[in-house]
C-alpha cells in the first residue's frame, strides 16, 4: 500500500496549511465582528400576511415611534411598488433607530445608504436592523431588488437633525 499513499509536495503542504489558517482567521474575525461587536445580520423576526398587513397595527400606521426622546426610536416602513411609506421622516442626531420593513406585494430590497442597514423586504416576513445616526444630514433609503418597471424611482430619505432642529 505504500505506493498508494497520498503524495504531497512540501511546498504544496505549506500552501495547504497557510490556506487553512487564512480561512480560520476569516471565520474568527467575522464571528468577533458579528457576535462580540454586534454587527449583525437580520434574523427571524415575525411573519405577517402580505394581503392584510397594511390594515393591521402597527403597519396600518407606518412611520416613526419615539421610545426615548433623542435616543431610541423605531420606524415601521411598508414597501409597495414603487414607493416606501413613509418615504421621508426625521430623527435627531445620535438617535438609535430600529427599522422594521415588510412588503405588501413583490420582493423588494431596503438599503439605507452609508449605514449597515441593508436587507431584503419580503412579502410575509418582517426585516429588522438597528443603526445609530452619528452625523446630521440626509440619508437615502433605496429599493435594491428589481420589483418592476418603476424600481429605480423607489426611494425615500431620513433627515437627521442637529439638536437645534436643523439638518
Amino acid at each position: 500500500m505504500t505506493t498508494e499513499e497520498l503524495h504531497v509536495d512540501p511546498a504544496e503542504r505549506n500552501w495547504i496549511v497557510a490556506s487553512i489558517m487564512l480561512l480560520v482567521v476569516f471565520g474568527v474575525a467575522v464571528a468577533i465582528a458579528g457576535f462580540m461587536l454586534g454587527i449583525q445580520v437580520p434574523t427571524e423576526e415575525q411573519r405577517v400576511d402580505p394581503r392584510t398587513v397594511a390594515q393591521e397595527a402597527p403597519w396600518s400606521n407606518p412611520g416613526v415611534r419615539e421610545l426615548v426622546p433623542g435616543e431610541e426610536y423605531e420606524v415601521y416602513i411598508l414597501a409597495s411598488r414603487f414607493s416606501f411609506v413613509p418615504n421621508t421622516f426625521e430623527v435627531p442626531v445620535g438617535a438609535r433607530v430600529t427599522f422594521y420593513v415588510t412588503s405588501t406585494d413583490v420582493q423588494h430590497g431596503f438599503k439605507l445608504q452609508d449605514t449597515n442597514v441593508n436587507f431584503m423586504a419580503l412579502p410575509g416576513q418582517v426585516s429588522k436592523l438597528t443603526t445609530t445616526f452619528e452625523e446630521p444630514g440626509t440619508y437615502s433609503y433605496i429599493c435594491t431588488e428589481y420589483c418592476g418597471l418603476g424600481h429605480a424611482v423607489m426611494a425615500g430619505s431620513v433627515t437627521v437633525t442637529e439638536p437645534g432642529g436643523n439638518a
Binding site: 505506493t3 498508494e4 497520498l6 503524495h7 504531497v8 509536495d9 511546498a11 504544496e12 500552501w15 490556506s19 487553512i20 487564512l22 480561512l23 476569516f26 471565520g27 467575522v30 464571528a31 465582528a33 458579528g34 457576535f35 449583525q40 445580520v41 437580520p42 434574523t43 427571524e44 423576526e45 411573519r47 400576511d49 402580505p50 394581503r51 411598488r81 406585494d105 413583490v106 420582493q107 430590497g109 438599503k111 445608504q113 449597515n116 441593508n118 436587507f119 431584503m120 419580503l122 412579502p123 410575509g124 416576513q125 418582517v126 426585516s127 429588522k128 437615502s140 433605496i142 429599493c143 435594491t144 431588488e145 428589481y146 418592476g148 418597471l149 424600481h151 429605480a152 424611482v153 426611494a155
Partner: protein, 557 residues
C-alpha cells in the same frame, strides 16, 4: 499556426459524435451572442446613454427585458449547452469509447433545445421579464417555468448517459483508476444533479402549481431558500468544466504536466461535498432565517474556498513546470516562457488572472456581516462577471479555439485576431469590474436603471462612465473572439490530409495508476455530500416547509 496538430489522434470521435458535440456549441455560442448584445446596453445605460428606446421596434420593451435575456442566455443557456457538449467530448475521449446509449444523450439534448425554445418565447414577448432569478411573487408566463424545467431535466438525462458509459467502462477495467478528466467531468455532473434538486422543488412544488392556478399563493422565503440551494453550486457547475481544462488540458498545452493528479482529484471531491450546503450566504440579509444558521453557512462557504486555493497552487505549479521545460527561468520570469501566442492558452491564463480577483471578492461576499455593505449592490455583478463572465466564459472560449478545429478538422482561423479579442475582453473586464465593485461599495444598487434613479450622487458618475466604457470594450473583445470561432467552424479550408487537432490531455507528474484508491471511490464522497446537506439544510427546511405560508398571490412584472 499555433494550435498543435498531430498525425495520430489517440481516439478519433466518430463523425456523429463530433456533430453531436458541435450542435451543443452552435446553440451555446448563439445564446452567448444574443445574450451579450444586451451587456453593453446595460453598461451604457449606467453611463447615461440609454439605447433601449431604439430597441422597442425589435420587440424589446425595457431594460429589464434585456437584462432577463442577458442573464438567462449568458448565465444559464450558454453555460449549460457548452458544458454538456464539452463533457460529452471529455467522457468519450477520456474513456476512449463511444457513448453507451447515444439515443439517451440525444434525447437529453433535444429536450434541452425544446426547453430553451419554450422559455425563450415568453421572454421575447415580454411575458417573463422576471430576470434569471425569477423571484416570486413576480410571475412569469407558465411556459417560462416549463422551459427551464425541460432544460434542467434534459441536462440530467445527458448526465445519465455519461454514467451508463462510465459504468460499462468500469466493468471492463476492474480497479484501473478513472482517467482524471473523466472523473472530474462525472463529479461535475453529479454535483449539478444534487444541486438542481432545490430549483426542481421550487419550480415543481411551488411555482408551477401557483402559475397554473392550482395554488392561490406562494411562500416567497421558502422559494428563495430552494432557489439558493441550487444557486451557489450552480456556479461550481459552471466553474468545474473550466477546472477540468486548467488541471487536465492546459498543462499539456504549455508542454507541461499536471503537478499532482491526487490533489486534483481531492479538489473535485471536496467541491462535490462542500458546494451545496452553504446557500444561506446568498440570504445573509433575508428575514426569517436565524442568524446562527447564516453564520454556519458562512463558515461552510469559507471551507469551499479551500479546494479553490488548492487549485490555485496546483494549476500554477503545472504551468511553471511546463514553462521551465520550455526554457523559462527565474522566480517569476518563467511566466514569459508560456506560449502566449497560442490564443487558447492566453484566453485561459487571462481567465485565471481575472478569477484571482473574483475569488478575493467572493471571500468578502461570504463574510457574513460584511455582506451588509455589498448585498444587491453593483459589487455583486462586478464580482460574478469575474467568475462566470471571466473564469468560465473566457476559458470556454479558449477551449473552443482547439475544440472547434478538433470537431471540424479545420484549422483555427486567424489566431492573431483571436488574441486581440481575448486581450480586449480582459482589459474591458478589468475596467468594468473594478468600476462596478467601486460604485457598489459607494451604494449603487444592481439590477437598476440608474439613469432614472433620483438618488444617484455626483460621486458615482465617473465610475458609471467606466462601467459603460469597460462594458463596451468587453463586448467588442468577446465578439471578435466569437467571430474567430464562427469563421473556423464554417470556413471551407480543411486541415491537410492526415493532420488532426487532438484533444490536449495532460499527463501527470505522479502516476495516475498509483493514486490512492479512496480518491477513485464514489460512495464515501456521496454519503459525505448527503450528510453535510442534511446537517446544513435539514432543520431549516423542515421548519420552513412545515410552517409554509403560501400567502403571496401572483403579480405581473
Amino acid at each position: 499556426m499555433t494550435i498543435a496538430t498531430t498525425t495520430s489522434p489517440v481516439y478519433p470521435l466518430t463523425k456523429e459524435d463530433r456533430r453531436f458535440v458541435g450542435l451543443h456549441l452552435v446553440i451555446a455560442f448563439s445564446a452567448l451572442v444574443i445574450g451579450s448584445l444586451f451587456g453593453p446596453l446595460q453598461a451604457l445605460e449606467h453611463a447615461g446613454l440609454d439605447l433601449y428606446p431604439s430597441l422597442e421596434r425589435f420587440g424589446i420593451q425595457s431594460y429589464y427585458q434585456g437584462l432577463t435575456l442577458h442573464g438567462v442566455l449568458n448565465a444559464l443557456i450558454w453555460t449549460t449547452f457548452f458544458i454538456t457538449g464539452f463533457l460529452t467530448l471529455v467522457v468519450i475521449r477520456g474513456l476512449q469509447r463511444p457513448l453507451a446509449l447515444p439515443w439517451l444523450n440525444r434525447l437529453g439534448f433535444w429536450m434541452m433545445v425544446v426547453g430553451l425554445v419554450a422559455a425563450a418565447i415568453p421572454i421575447l414577448l415580454n411575458k417573463a421579464t422576471v430576470l434569471y432569478t425569477f423571484y416570486p411573487p413576480m410571475e412569469a408566463n407558465t411556459w417560462f417555468y416549463v422551459g427551464l424545467t425541460l432544460v434542467v431535466v434534459g441536462s440530467w438525462i445527458e448526465g445519465w448517459g455519461f454514467y451508463v458509459t462510465y459504468w460499462r467502462w468500469r466493468k471492463e477495467h476492474g480497479t484501473t483508476r478513472t482517467p482524471f478528466i473523466v472523473l472530474a467531468a462525472l463529479i461535475t455532473m453529479v454535483l449539478w444533479q444534487i444541486a438542481t434538486l432545490g430549483v426542481a422543488a421550487e419550480i415543481l412544488g411551488l411555482l408551477l402549481p401557483w402559475s397554473i392556478g392550482l395554488a392561490d399563493g406562494v411562500d416567497p422565503l421558502l422559494s428563495r431558500t430552494f432557489f439558493w440551494f441550487t444557486g451557489h453550486p450552480l456556479v461550481y457547475f459552471w466553474l468545474l468544466p473550466a477546472y477540468v481544462s486548467w488541471y487536465g488540458m492546459l498543462p499539456k498545452q504549455v508542454d507541461g504536466k499536471l503537478f499532482s493528479n491526487s490533489l486534483a482529484r481531492l479538489a473535485f471531491w471536496l467541491f462535490l461535498i462542500l458546494s451545496t450546503p452553504l446557500g444561506f450566504h446568498h440570504q445573509f440579509v433575508d428575514p426569517g432565517i436565524p442568524s446562527g444558521w447564516k453564520y454556519i453557512h458562512s463558515i461552510l462557504t469559507f471551507s469551499v474556498f479551500f479546494p479553490s486555493l488548492l487549485t490555485f497552487f496546483t494549476v500554477i505549479a503545472s504551468l511553471e513546470y511546463g514553462a521551465r521545460k520550455r526554457g523559462g527561468t527565474g522566480r517569476l520570469a518563467w511566466i514569459k516562457a508560456l506560449p502566449w501566442k497560442n490564443p487558447s492558452v492566453t484566453a485561459q491564463l487571462l481567465a485565471g488572472i481575472l478569477f484571482v480577483f473574483g475569488g478575493i471578492g467572493g471571500l468578502a461576499n461570504a463574510s457574513y456581516n460584511v455582506n451588509l455593505v455589498l448585498h444587491n449592490t453593483a459589487w455583486v455583478p462586478g464580482h460574478f462577471h469575474l467568475t462566470v463572465g471571466s473564469a468560465v466564459t473566457l476559458s470556454f472560449v479558449g477551449i473552443a479555439f482547439w475544440l472547434v478545429p478538433h470537431l471540424t478538422r479545420k484549422p483555427l482561423w486567424s489566431p492573431k485576431t483571436a488574441l486581440v479579442g481575448v486581450w480586449t475582453y480582459f482589459v474591458g473586464m478589468l475596467i468594468f469590474s473594478n468600476a462596478m465593485h467601486t460604485v457598489g461599495l459607494l451604494g449603487a444598487p444592481r439590477r437598476t436603471t440608474l439613469g432614472l434613479a433620483p438618488y444617484v450622487p455626483p460621486e458615482w458618475t465617473g465610475h458609471l462612465w467606466r462601467v459603460g466604457f469597460g462594458g463596451t470594450l468587453m463586448w467588442i473583445g468577446l465578439m471578435t473572439a466569437v467571430v474567430v470561432v464562427a469563421v473556423t467552424a464554417f470556413r471551407s479550408t480543411r486541415l491537410p490530409e492526415g493532420e488532426y487537432v487532438d484533444v490536449p490531455v495532460a499527463e501527470s507528474i505522479d502516476d495516475e495508476q498509483q493514486v490512492p484508491v479512496w480518491l477513485d471511490r464514489w460512495m464515501p464522497w456521496l454519503v459525505g455530500a448527503a450528510v453535510l446537506i442534511i446537517l446544513a439544510y435539514g432543520p431549516q427546511l423542515i421548519d420552513k416547509i412545515g410552517g409554509m405560508a403560501p400567502t403571496s398571490p401572483p403579480f405581473t412584472p
